[in-house]
């Protein structure tokens, strides 16, 4: 109906890719736009501006290396205050089952490596969660920890592609990726008893999952290079030859 604001999606339309995704991804009209805190939204807006112009055309020189990037925020929980110089927060990231159409090409966790709590400033890093006490750390200053220009000063991006990998990925139903966010007071400083006042996990870390749409990957392979260039350059040449 003209003037009807929301898209009345026909049931059979769900076979059309975009409409099917609208049905799956778009929060219902009645649902308010979920509130998204500062850093994650700022990060994704920066990523968007680096990847597309103001009309939404993807830039030729974009560096995401993926046709889809999902920022996943951890389930809200608050750290358990601990005694001594260490503070530990468990981060649970809900993972959706992967749709066949997308291939995971990279996974990173972005976290604050510096936290200012009470009158002290903590240095933090992320480890993957294991049943027993955390022994093997992610190399907190090693491979994969990069500081892409998108990140504000106190944030670091850590590659965890192997960790997320297939084992967590192809199971049906909901999966949770559990990581540990550990902070330590500076050595030698007076051990302060902290309460992580409201420092919920929503503000300390988020997951970035980079996907490629396998169809577009397939399409790129279908046309051997020569023919693709040929059709790109002057499609009417093919027609003329056929004539």
């Amino acid at each position: 109906q003209v003037g009807q604001p929301s898209v009345a999606l026909l049931p059979e339309a769900s076979t059309v890719p975009l409409i099917r995704e609208l049905l799956e991804e778009a929060p219902g009209k009645q649902q308010r736009k979920p509130r998204v805190p500062g850093p994650p939204l700022r990060y994704m807006l920066e990523l968007y501006q680096h990847s597309a112009d103001e009309s939404g055309h993807p830039r030729e020189n974009r560096t995401t290396g993926a046709t889809m990037v999902r920022l996943v925020r951890p389930l809200a929980n608050v750290a358990r205050p601990l005694r001594g110089p260490w503070h530990k927060q468990t981060l649970d990231f809900p993972l959706r089952p992967n749709r066949v159409a997308y291939q995971l090409v990279r996974a990173t966790v972005v976290y604050r490596h510096q936290l200012h709590l009470a009158h002290s400033h903590l240095s933090c890093h992320v480890e993957h969660w294991v049943q027993k006490s955390p022994t093997d750390h992610f190399p907190s200053s090693g491979r994969g920890s990069s500081k892409p220009s998108l990140l504000p000063e106190a944030w670091t991006e850590m590659d965890i592609t192997q960790h997320v990998g297939q084992k967590l990925w192809n199971h049906k139903g909901r999966r949770v990726l559990r990581l540990l966010f550990l902070c330590q007071q500076p050595r030698g400083s007076e051990v302060l008893e902290f309460r992580w006042h409201g420092t919920s996990s929503l503000d300390t870390a988020f997951l970035l999952l980079y996907f490629n749409d396998t169809q577009s990957v397939q399409k790129a392979k279908l046309l051997p290079r020569g023919l693709e260039e040929f059709t790109e350059r002057d499609p009417s040449l093919i027609l003329r030859r056929a004539r």
Binding site: P27, P34, L41, G56, P58
Partner: protein, 125 residues
């Protein structure tokens, strides 16, 4: 008959198909995601230019229309054999993608490139 068609004075076919200006061509068109009722989950871009193709398909289809040989035949059939068979339609030929930043129902934020969202050229088919 081929000779007659080839020597066709373009103007005559235009008489039948109307003036040059209403021949099949690309028309710019811009909407906001609010008008589409999607603004509650799309963060960027605000405006979207899908464009559209409109116009008649003249009997002698010029090269710029990237039309297949079948379109020329269909035009001839419509004119010489059976008028109930329609002339070819003016439809998009090439598309380009668009990048969208959106919020999913569970609060995740998604950057995604959607293929075939903007018409870039037209054809008669």
């Amino acid at each position: 008959q081929a000779g007659i068609i080839a020597s066709e004075v373009p103007g005559r076919s235009r008489e039948r198909d109307g003036s040059e200006s209403n021949q099949c061509s690309l028309h710019p068109f811009q909407v906001s995601f609010q008008q589409l009722g999607w603004d509650h989950w799309i963060i960027a871009p605000h405006l979207y230019t899908p464009n559209y193709c409109k116009g008649v398909c003249p009997r002698v289809l010029h090269y710029g229309l990237n039309s297949p040989n079948h379109a020329i035949i269909q035009n001839l059939v419509n004119e010489l054999v059976d008028q109930s068979i329609p002339q070819p339609s003016c439809v998009p030929y090439k598309y380009v993608p668009i990048s969208i930043l959106l919020i999913e129902a569970n609060g995740s934020i998604l950057y995604k490139e959607y293929e075939d969202m903007i018409a870039q050229s037209c054809t008669c088919r």
